[in-house]
């Protein structure tokens, strides 16, 4: 080629110069574990389903399908879960936590409204599993075992499926049509349900029914009693019976002034129920202070809004002639309440005891290997009891007693039972490093306060069992989903592609909108990692 005067070289592009050789660190895309997922007792992949929901219309069904991979009861859980995910949410440090539960509820309600169904595509394993108890844990286990290809029979002592969701949680928190719709969907998979069937001895029933394994989730339905010296006319009931009675034909009679003894969520439910039954005064008597109360913040707040009164630092000495004698307590240095000897009186027509619940473990009598401690059955990390092939979960094993924990146990046990039946123990995949707040670059997120759910007005709350907390409409649910910071997981914002001074981030486009580092040119400056909003890029030293 003829060149101009004084030119001796052919022109070329700088792309011949592979500046990647300068690098001492390389950028690597990672998935970190979002704190919400980490905190979810049911092991939901919250960030992933919010990601789908962010797309709106077309994304809702995909979001719901992602959700029900882990949890078959989203409409229920969106209402009754105490959402530890929101406590853990990184956005709480920015403005307010994402209202995860309200989006979950929206998706669950959408699924019911549109009749989304679940198909089982696993090959039948030929194995049969007995599930005892149709509460959250039993239903969850049955659902997951069924999806894994096993034939499942649930035996339930009560007249209805749902367990404590039916007989413990009042209808103003969980409308029964919602619960029934989600239970129905599980049964429609082909799970067999036998109601009014109390399992006497589990080993016998397994043998007779030809079951290969059993999952026990009988819950804790016996209200714990405390000895309260009482006169003859004094009316004392336990909270479990009260709430269970609400599901019958005749409503329990409590009178105008009702005292509830205890400080847990059940105490709140009992007091709020008493109000709705017509009590003018509902007083919760608790021996410690509000901050030491096991009841969840939301429930205490809603109860207070409805006029439930609280009597802190008090124990009940006597109940006689329409009067409770209370003794004032004081917290010692360890935070334990100590009696002071001072007493006072409180007028009451009836006393509801909400002092905790116990399990009826008679079905395990004579089963070798079973270990019971503090009234609950001990299980290994694989949810198996001391007896090979018998697993247990929910309120009857040592754990926090919530619907969500129960659903989580059901899933975990189902995977372990599946592994045990197939002779290949289930190994949970290794957990990723947590995406802490410090891994985020929050500059890039818009300021967006949380959307509050509508509340039923006071007058209706006082007298009816209508649902207190309303759901979000589509607009709001979408807004709320889009508040997710997507901690630790790329959401295709194009920032890395934009900020690389060397064009060394390649955008691969749809589907998935993924990126790739072009190591021929990546100089390892770290800008992409520093400017990634969600902490999904890590700088890794090169081996030299």
């Amino acid at each position: 080629m003829k060149k101009p005067y004084a030119i001796t070289l052919d022109l070329g592009s700088s792309r011949a110069n592979h500046t990647g050789s300068w690098r001492t660190e390389r950028a690597v895309y990672v998935d970190r574990l979002p704190p919400c997922n980490d905190a979810c007792p049911a092991g939901e992949n919250i960030q992933a389903w919010l990601y789908e929901a962010e797309e709106g219309e077309g994304g809702y069904e995909r979001a719901w399908r992602k959700l029900v991979e882990e949890n078959p009861l989203p409409a229920v859980m969106g209402r009754v879960c105490y959402h530890p995910c929101e406590t853990a949410c990184n956005r709480a440090q920015l403005d307010e936590a994402v209202g995860i539960h309200s989006v979950e509820r929206f998706l669950g309600d959408e699924a019911i409204r549109r009749g989304w169904r679940i198909e089982v595509d696993a090959e039948p394993s030929g194995k049969r599993v007995l599930v005892v108890g149709a509460g959250p844990s039993g239903l969850s286990a049955a659902y997951h075992l069924n999806r894994l290809g096993h034939a499942v029979t649930i035996r339930e002592a009560g007249p209805l499926a749902g367990g404590m969701m039916h007989f413990g949680i009042p209808a103003y928190r969980l409308p029964r049509d919602v619960l029934d719709a989600e239970v129905r969907r599980i049964l429609d998979l082909g799970v067999e349900l036998e109601l009014n069937h109390r399992v006497g001895n589990v080993l016998e029933e397994m043998r007779e029914g030809g079951f290969d394994a059993a999952f026990l989730a009988i819950g804790a339905h016996i209200g714990r009693r405390a000895y309260v010296p009482a006169g003859e006319a004094a009316r004392i009931v336990d909270a479990v019976s009260l709430l269970e009675g609400m599901e019958g034909e005749e409503r329990p009679q409590l009178g105008r002034r009702v005292a509830v003894y205890g400080g847990g969520n059940t105490a709140m439910d009992a007091a709020r129920t008493a109000k709705r039954l017509g009590a003018s005064d509902a007083v919760v008597v608790y021996r410690r202070t509000r901050d030491r109360m096991p009841a969840h913040e939301d429930e205490v707040e809603e109860a207070a809004e409805e006029g439930v009164m609280m009597k802190w630092l008090s124990t009940i000495k006597r109940f006689e002639g329409g009067k409770l004698t209370l003794e004032r307590m004081e917290l010692d240095e360890t935070g334990f309440p100590q009696p002071t000897g001072e007493t006072e009186e409180l007028e009451a027509d009836s006393l509801v005891l909400a002092l905790g619940q116990e399990s009826d473990l008679s079905l395990l009598e004579g089963v070798p290997g079973i270990e019971v401690e503090d009234g609950v059955v001990q299980v290994g990390p694989n949810m198996m009891t001391g007896h090979e092939g018998i697993f247990a979960g929910g309120d009857m094993v040592p754990a926090e007693r919530t619907v969500t924990v129960g659903v989580g146990h059901g899933k975990k046990a189902a995977r372990q039972i599946d592994g045990w039946l197939r002779g290949a123990p289930f190994e949970p995949p290794p957990r990723h490093e947590i995406a802490g707040f410090e891994t985020l670059n929050t500059w890039y997120y818009s300021d967006a306060p949380r959307t509050e759910q509508p509340r039923l007005e006071d007058a209706r709350r006082a007298s009816t069992f209508d649902e207190v907390v309303g759901g979000l409409g589509e607009d709001n649910a979408l807004f709320e989903a889009r508040r997710c910071l997507s901690c630790g997981n790329c959401f295709s914002c194009d920032n890395c592609y934009g900020v690389c001074p060397d064009n060394a981030v390649l955008k691969l486009g749809k589907p998935g909108e993924l990126y790739e580092i072009d190591l021929d040119y990546c100089k390892g400056c770290g800008l992409c990692a520093a400017e990634c909003p969600c902490g999904a890029i890590e700088m890794v030293p090169e081996e030299i």
Binding site: L9, D10, L11, G12, S13, S14, R15, A16, N17, H18, T19, W22, E54, E55, W443, Y444, Y445, S446, A448, L478, F479, R482, R483, C484, L485, S486, F491, S492, C493, D494, N495, Y497, G498, V499, P501, D502, N503, A504, K507, G509, E513, D518, D520, Y521, K523, G524, C525, G526, L527, A529, A530, E531, P533, M539
Partner: protein
């Protein structure tokens, strides 16, 4: 203030196209909680994303250039030129001053430029750009547009006379200054854009008044405004939507236009290469570098501070200011710099 009115300017340079933006220079994205400040978002239609988020961006400055790790100038040049390429449908010629940008991009015979590009001398880039524009006019090629560009040395010092002439003559050129506040290519010497107290090779951090002197230097965006030219704007590499909108606006207009882009220099400032964008963000959020636009000599819009930070947050990560924070350090100098930031906040209404 934010609403534009082209007829008001009275300038002899009518806008090129009818496409008009309203409100501030920042792109508004409703409800996309994860898409307002980032480059793009999978939920946005491709045409609503920044140019830099698009797979078909022109990469005017392509890979393999020899800029340092984390170079703010390389980033700023691609941002500005890609936006201008998009605004002109790829009909763009660039004239470049001497400096880092020229040296790291064109070690003969290799070039990183993917557009027609010309370099002559250190001080004449505005004049060369004017000449290219004149030639195009003579050939009747008014569809092809011209960008002049250089660093702060080539713009505020050495090429300053040519720049002022280009403004005064009304030449149809967008001139972009990539300001990294010193002569970096030759070894970090002080320029007319070096801020007070900064250490450079010839403003040592020693004596009673360490680093660069207070009260000197030039505020070229305001000098440009004083010429009454159609458009003057400042921007940083931390706000991509804003920068691109300003280039796009500039390309809608004819006549001399000036864009001053703040581009951190990891090597010259003694900063971590990963902090380039962060420093561009904190300089604006502190008020030390006001981000605004002006038409016909009047400020028409400012980019408000969103999360205000004290100047210290901007200064501390840079070794060129290390002498301010040693033991005993110079808290009184930090205070003077804070006062400068506060004065900017007051003057431009940044809060």
């Amino acid at each position: 203030m934010a609403q534009r009115d082209d007829s008001r300017s009275g300038a002899p340079y009518p806008p090129v196209t009818g496409k008009r933006r309203t409100a501030s220079a920042t792109q508004r994205v409703k409800l996309y909680q994860v898409g307002t400040h980032v480059a793009g978002n999978r939920l946005l239609e491709p045409e609503e994303r920044t140019v830099q988020a698009r797979m078909d961006r022109s990469n005017s400055l392509t890979s393999g250039h020899r800029a340092c790790q984390g170079c703010g100038e390389a980033l700023g040049a691609r941002y500005a030129l890609d936006a201008a390429m998009r605004a002109t449908g790829g009909k763009l010629i660039a004239a470049n001053a001497t400096g880092c940008l020229e040296v790291f991009s064109t070690p003969f015979p290799e070039s990183s430029w993917q557009l027609p590009w010309i370099h002559s001398l250190f001080g004449n880039a505005p004049a060369v750009a004017s000449g290219v524009a004149a030639a195009l006019r003579a050939k009747g090629r008014e569809d092809v547009r011209v960008v002049g560009q250089g660093g702060d040395g080539g713009t505020v010092d050495i090429g300053f006379g040519c720049l002022s002439g280009m403004f005064e003559r009304g030449d149809d050129v967008l001139y972009v200054c990539y300001d990294n506040e010193a002569y970096m290519n030759t070894g970090v010497q002080r320029s007319g854009a070096t801020p007070p107290a900064a250490r450079t090779a010839n403003t040592k951090p020693i004596g009673e008044h360490p680093g660069n002197a207070f009260g000197q230097g030039k505020d070229v965006p305001r000098i440009a405004m004083a010429h009454g030219i159609p458009y003057v704007a400042t921007a940083t590499v931390a706000e991509l939507h804003d920068l691109e909108a300003k280039v796009e606006r500039a390309m809608e207009l004819r006549g001399p236009r000036y864009l001053h882009v703040f581009v951190p220099c990891p090597l010259g400032w003694g900063a971590d290469s990963a902090d380039t964008v962060k420093l561009a963000r904190t300089v604006k959020e502190s008020g030390l570098f006001p981000v605004f636009e002006a038409e016909a000599g009047e400020v028409t819009a400012v980019s408000k501070i969103r999360r205000q930070v004290p100047v210290e947050e901007y200064l501390r990560p840079q070794r060129r200011y290390a002498h301010l924070f040693g033991d005993p350090g110079h808290p009184e100098i930090v205070e003077r710099l804070q006062a400068m930031a506060d004065a900017n906040i007051e003057r431009y209404g940044l809060l």
